[in-house]
């Protein structure tokens, strides 16, 4: 398994750069991953990352709709916080697997 260093920590990642062990995640690591994606994390980013991690930990599927219903940000803000491919990018920074949902 590949390893990559973020914020001084060796993290297990898969070939696409997603964490294979979500336990290795913390805020500093997230900031380092985000930097690589060209993002500086704000409180809003962290609120979404926490939401995604909680949802993942409770075994619920992630979708763009669930973000909209989260009450943290609406979809428009979500797209502007994680430009490009928001769900892929945010899950990568949140240290959880790439979502397998089509919606």
């Amino acid at each position: 398994m590949a390893q990559k260093e973020f914020a001084g920590q060796l993290i297990d990642v898969n070939e696409e750069g997603y964490f294979t062990n979500p336990q290795q995640w913390n805020r500093e690591v997230a900031a380092a991953v985000a930097k690589e994606e060209g993002l500086d994390l704000t409180d809003n980013h962290y609120a979404i990352l926490e939401f995604l991690r909680n949802r993942y930990n409770s075994g619920e599927a992630l979708s763009i709709r669930s973000i909209n219903k989260s009450g943290i940000v609406d979809v428009k803000e979500f797209y502007s916080l994680f430009p490009g491919a928001p769900l892929k990018k945010s899950t990568k920074i949140a240290g959880i697997p790439k979502p397998s949902s089509c919606i």
Binding site: I64, V75, K76, P86, I103
Partner: protein, 167 residues
């Protein structure tokens, strides 16, 4: 060997010409999926597909219960076409489809369009079909950015890495 990463899809123009639940949703899922991947997405509704963006119809989409050999009842029992022709059957089957979709967290048409446009996707209506069905811009929902002729559609589709998809 060419690498698929060297030629990513940059823009999709998706056309929906039918107004059944499954036709409309296929187009919506593809459009939203593109937006989520960071691909520029434009969705065009024409002919019966216009129902999906017509205020008075968009909440009432149905799936056809006649002439659809893939339609089966719970338990995988074939659905007789004659049964599908009875009043109320189409509505019942459509309601069942919608409740199944809700269980999978697939949003209703309006909410889906809200997600698509919030992410930068654009929705258009076909001018010729609008004229045919005697529809005006006022009949269409707020998520529609404009009414286009076929020429304008092709202009919009121009550019490297564009795919035109007729669903």
């Amino acid at each position: 060997m060419t690498n698929s990463k060297d030629f990513p899809i940059k823009k999709v123009c998706i056309i929906c010409a039918k107004g059944t639940i499954e036709d409309v949703y296929a187009a919506l899922v593809m459009t939203n999926g593109a937006v989520m991947e960071g691909i520029q997405a434009r969705l065009f509704f024409t002919f019966f597909g216009l129902d999906a963006i017509t205020k008075s119809q968009m909440k009432k989409l149905k799936t056809s219960t006649v002439g659809n050999p893939a339609l089966r009842m719970p338990g995988n029992i074939p659905f007789p076409t004659l049964l599908g022709a009875l009043p109320g059957v189409e509505a019942g089957v459509s309601a069942m489809m919608k409740s199944q979709m809700e269980k999978l967290d697939i949003p209703p048409v309006e909410e889906f369009m809200d997600l698509i446009t919030a992410g930068g996707g654009e929705i258009y209506a076909c001018k010729l079909a609008m004229d045919m069905f005697k529809l005006t811009k006022e009949d269409l929902c707020e998520y529609v950015s404009g009414v286009l002729t076929i020429g304008e559609f092709y202009e919009m589709a121009a550019g490297e890495g564009t795919q035109i998809i007729f669903t």
